[in-house]
Symmetry: C2
Subunit: 197 residues, 2 copies
Amino acid sequence: MEKIILASQSPRRRELMEMLGLPFEVMVSEAEEKITGTDPAAVTEELSARKAAAVAAEIQEGIVIGADTVVALQGRILGKPADRAGAEAMIRSLQGQSHMVYTGVTLIRKRDGHTEARTFSEGTRVHVAAMSDSEIQAYLDTDEPYDKAGAYGIQGIFGKHIAGIEGDFYNVVGLPVHRLYQELKKLGDKQLFFAKK
Amino acid sequence: MEKIILASQSPRRRELMEMLGLPFEVMVSEAEEKITGTDPAAVTEELSARKAAAVAAEIQEGIVIGADTVVALQGRILGKPADRAGAEAMIRSLQGQSHMVYTGVTLIRKRDGHTEARTFSEGTRVHVAAMSDSEIQAYLDTDEPYDKAGAYGIQGIFGKHIAGIEGDFYNVVGLPVHRLYQELKKLGDKQLFFAKK
């Protein structure tokens, strides 16, 4: 069976990979973070391709999975907040609105001296409930906003402010699990998924 | 602060409760499982009320949370499969379709000799991708289907077959976290959520 390599150090992505039911390894290599576009979905695709390519350059055979996730409000990417004021501005802009989370994924397969690559992205709509001043301040008093793009994680205590989503939940967490599975089926051998253990 | 009691032994519900950021205890009491209706949402409400009432009967003060979750396809509740054939029939009926997952919740507050209760339910639509025979058999070969209503859990390896959802993801896991939070705010004191620790 071909080796599958996740080019991401995110523990959450590692957990999501488990859903595929395939053995995989983690390998991360320095990738250029410079981006050339501004469209959120295109940016995730570009960064996923760089991450996958950096790892693929170091192996002879296998399937490398690179991924990048962004939070976008009205087409504008929200990064990690610099400080409390930055986090507050983000939460104020997200509350009472819906926004998009995009994850771009690149699969690079190296085999018999050939390389093939496939890049795609998926968007999930997230509806954040209206929040009162006290709710915003209570949230900013926690550690949660400060190391996260868009100042929130859907799996943390911000979850109670999320009224609903449309699309793949796991895409918001960091990998579009269903789409990734479909694409791996196309790229990989049938035996990848249906070999008896 | 009033005591909050989760009337459920489910480890997943316990994890979801953590999102509320409130201290709580777990206490479970034997509740009559007999139901009188057939409407899936109404059934979850009825069972949540029984579970909450059984625990509320044993306490003097506090807020008890009872919950019940069902998987419903075209208005019909899917229980736990009896065996492999039953699981196969369920998965064949769910694949390539969308279905609903309902969680009913009852809050019972006891204070100063008074009791007030509130029951609600929430539905989330789940889209399951079309599955091939090999995919269905590979899934039935795992342990996952056999102890779960509807023969699947959204957080397990079946996740890769879920194309998307509409609504609260956590409602599918076992508690409509956002709605529960809103209802607790109505039922509880303001201090429940905004007291400085």
